[in-house]
Symmetry: C2
Subunit: 362 residues, 2 copies
DNA sequence: TTGAAAGCGCTAACAT
DNA sequence: ATGTTAGCGCTTTCAA
C-alpha cells in the first residue's frame, strides 16, 4: 500500500503542461478574490482598513483554495528574529549548572531558526528576584520568556504583566500554579513521585520500617508535586512503610548531609530514602557516614557524576532523570509556536521521565 | 547575569545610524570578494565554472564575514520540497498500526516544513519485500527514506543502492547492521533489555526458578538486541534465575498464546516472563489460562490497551515503551538535516525508553 | 569564466 | 478602502 498526498485542487494548478501542482500563494488568493496582494495581506494579518464584504471575499478564496501561509517566506520578508529570554535559577547544584550549559548550546543552533536566546540567572527559591528579572525582560521587549518558576504572588503578577504586554511565557521544569503562563515544559512531577514510590515500594519488598524524604524546597512546585505523588502511592500501595516528614535541604549538599545525618541518627529503622531535589552528594555523604546494615534502598532524581557513581557502587538503586536538552528544545519550539499562534501538538511539552538502574546506565 | 549574543562584525554593519547589525548575506560576500552574486552562489553550492583563485577569494570573504547560508531563504528560492518515503511493516499488531496512524498525523504537519511524506506498508519480517519497496522508492526519486529494518542481505544491498543514488536512509525502531544507513532513530534496545532484566530481577527478589522470554522474530535487530541485553544482566546479576530459550511468536497474539501455554505447562517453576515483542494479548491469555499461584512477575514492551489493562489488573508488572510520535519527529528532523548536510546533534536520534508501572500510567 | 536580472511567497512603504 | 512596488536572502535563467 502506498499513501501519497499532494495538492490536488484544480484552482491552483499552475503548470498545466507538467501536471505539477503547488500550494496556493497570496497571489492565487488575490486572483480568486479579485483584490490586490496588500488586501490579502491585510486580511491574513488581521490588519484593519478592509471592508467587511471584501474581507469575506478574501476569506472565502482562502478557504476555497486551502491556502496556508508560508511562515518561512513571511519571516524572511519581515526579517523576523525571535527574541527569547530564559530566566533560570543560579543554583549551586549541578542540575542548574547543566541547564545553563544547555542554553549555551541551544543559543548557537537556534540562530539558524531565526531565534536569539538571552539568559538571566537569578537566586534560587527567590520569588522577588525572579519577578524583577521578568520585569526587566518586559522592558527589554523580548518576544517570549521561558522560566523555571518559583511559587510566589509577585511572580504570578509579573507573568500576568508580560502576558498583557503580548509576551508569551512558558514555564520550564517547575510550573507556576494559577498563572497566566501559556505552557509548561517538563516532566509530570506527580507521576515522577508516583514512579519513585512504585519502585521504592517494590524494592523494599516485605520489609517494614521508615522512609525518609529529602526535598529542596516546598516553594518550587516540582518538589511539591513529586512529594504528593510519592505519598499517594506509598499510602495506597505500601501502607506498611512509615513516611517521615520531608527534609528541606535547599538543593545544597552540605545542608542535606547535615539534616539527613541527623535523621538517620534518630531513626535506626530507615529502610528507604527518596530524594526528590538536588544535593545528592550530601545524601551519599550522610549514608556513608551512617553505614547502616542492611543499607536502605535509595531512589533519587537527576543523573549527575555523583549519582552515577553511587548507582554503580550500589548505594543508590534508581535515578529518575529528565532530559534537559530535549526540554529546552521543546520550550523553544513551543514558544515560537505560541508567538506565531501556530497550533501546538499537546505531546510536545510532555517530556518523559527516564529511569536509570545500574544496569542501564548510558 | 545576562548573556546576549548578536552579530558584532564591523564588516557587516549596515545601518550605521541605528547601530543595528544583521547577519551577513550573499550580497555582503559578493561585495567583499568583489564578485557577482552568481559567483558567490556557485562557490556556495559547489557548482563548477569558477576559477580557483576566485573561489579562494569568495571563501576568504565568507570566512571573514562569518557567513552562514540562510536555509529558509534558499528553500524558498528553489521551491524545495523534501520528499520523504516511509517503509514500515504491515504488522497485525497494535504497535505497527499505531505507527501508521502516527505517520498520518505527521504528514499533515510536515507540510508546513516543506516536507511531503509518503508511506509503503510491507509484510513483516520479509527482507525481500522490504528490498523491493526500497527499490521502488529509488525509482520514484524521493529525497530520503525512513524504514523499519529487517535484517537481510538483500535489504543491505538495496540500502547501498539508495545511498549511491544520493538518497538518504534512516532506520527507525529496528536498525540494520553493517549497512549504509546514515542514522538510526529509536531506543537503545540492548539497554532496554538490560533495564527489563534489572527490573524483573529485582522484582523476583530472592525467589529461585525459571524465566521465560517471548520474542517476535530473531530477524529483526531490536528483538535480538533486547534479548542480548536481558541475558547479559540476568547472567551477571541474577545467576540464580534460569533462562529458558526464547519463544518466537511472530508478534502475533494467537501464536504467542499457544507457544507460551505449552511452555507454562512444561515448567511449573516459571517465576518471571519478559516479552520483548508484540502479541501481548496472547501472553495474557496464556497466563490467565495457566492461573499459576503465585503468579509470575511480568515485564513487557509497548503500552497498548491490552497491556495497560493487564498492568492495572496486576497481571503485568512493568511495561517498557518507546514514544513513536517523538521517534517519527526525530526521524524527520534527522533526514532533513542529512539531506541538507547540516550537522546533527548526536542526542537527536536517541529516544529514551519509558517505564510504566501501574502507579504511573498516563 | 563571470555577471545582470528576474523571481520564490510574503510584507511594508507609499501611492491612489 | 484598496493597489503598486520594492524588497527579504537565495537561486536560476540568460547574456556577455
Amino acid at each position: 500500500m502506498s499513501i501519497a498526498r499532494r495538492w490536488s485542487n484544480p484552482d491552483i494548478m499552475k503548470t498545466k503542461e507538467t501536471g505539477q501542482m503547488s500550494r496556493p500563494t497570496v497571489h492565487d488568493v488575490a486572483r480568486v478574490a479579485k483584490v490586490s496582494l496588500s488586501t490579502v495581506d491585510r486580511v491574513l494579518n488581521g490588519r484593519d482598513g478592509v471592508r467587511a464584504t471584501t474581507q469575506e471575499r478574501v476569506r472565502a478564496a482562502m478557504k476555497q483554495l486551502g491556502y496556508e501561509r508560508d511562515l518561512m517566506a513571511a519571516n524572511l520578508s519581515r526579517k523576523r528574529i525571535y527574541d527569547i529570554h530564559f530566566v533560570i535559577p543560579d543554583g549551586p547544584n549541578s542540575f542548574m549548572r547543566n541547564l545553563a550549559a544547555e542554553l549555551e548550546t541551544h543559543a548557537r543552533i537556534a540562530l539558524r531558526d531565526r531565534t536569539e536566546i538571552t539568559v538571566s540567572l537569578v537566586p534560587p527559591f527567590d520569588g522577588r528576584a525572579l519577578a524583577a528579572a521578568l520585569r526587566r525582560a518586559k522592558e527589554a521587549g523580548v518576544d517570549g520568556v521561558v522560566m523555571v518558576a518559583t511559587e510566589s504572588a509577585e511572580v504570578r503578577q509579573a507573568v500576568s504583566e508580560l502576558r498583557a504586554a503580548g509576551i508569551q511565557v512558558v514555564t520550564l521544569i517547575s510550573d507556576l500554579s494559577a498563572s497566566a503562563r501559556a505552557h509548561f515544559v517538563g516532566i509530570d512531577n506527580v507521576s515522577a513521585g508516583r514512579t519513585a514510590a512504585g519502585l521504592l515500594g517494590r524494592f523494599c519488598a516485605d520489609r517494614r520500617g521508615r522512609i525518609a524524604i529529602v526535598a529542596g524546597s516546598m516553594l518550587v512546585r516540582d518538589h511539591v508535586e513529586r512529594r504528593l505523588g510519592f505519598e499517594q502511592v506509598m499510602h495506597a500501595e505500601f501502607p506498611d512503610l512509615d513516611l517521615l516528614p520531608p527534609i528541606e535541604g535547599g538543593d545544597e549538599a552540605a545542608r542535606v548531609e547535615a539534616l539527613l545525618s541527623d535523621v538517620l541518627r534518630k531513626h535506626d529503622d530507615i529502610i528507604g530514602i527518596y530524594s526528590l531535589g538536588g544535593g545528592n552528594r550530601g545524601l551519599r555523604g550522610a549514608l556513608d557516614r551512617a553505614g547502616a546494615v542492611p543499607r536502605p534502598m535509595v531512589v533519587v532524581h537527576e543523573l549527575t557524576d555523583q549519582s552515577r557513581v553511587a548507582l554503580q557502587d550500589g548505594v543508590f538503586d534508581a535515578v529518575l532523570q529528565q532530559d534537559i536538552h530535549r526540554e529546552v528544545a521543546s520550550a523553544l519550539v513551543i514558544i515560537r509556536s505560541l508567538i506565531e499562534a501556530v497550533p501546538i501538538d499537546a505531546r510536545t511539552g510532555l517530556v518523559h521521565i527516564e529511569i536509570f538502574l545500574r544496569d542501564n546506565l548510558p
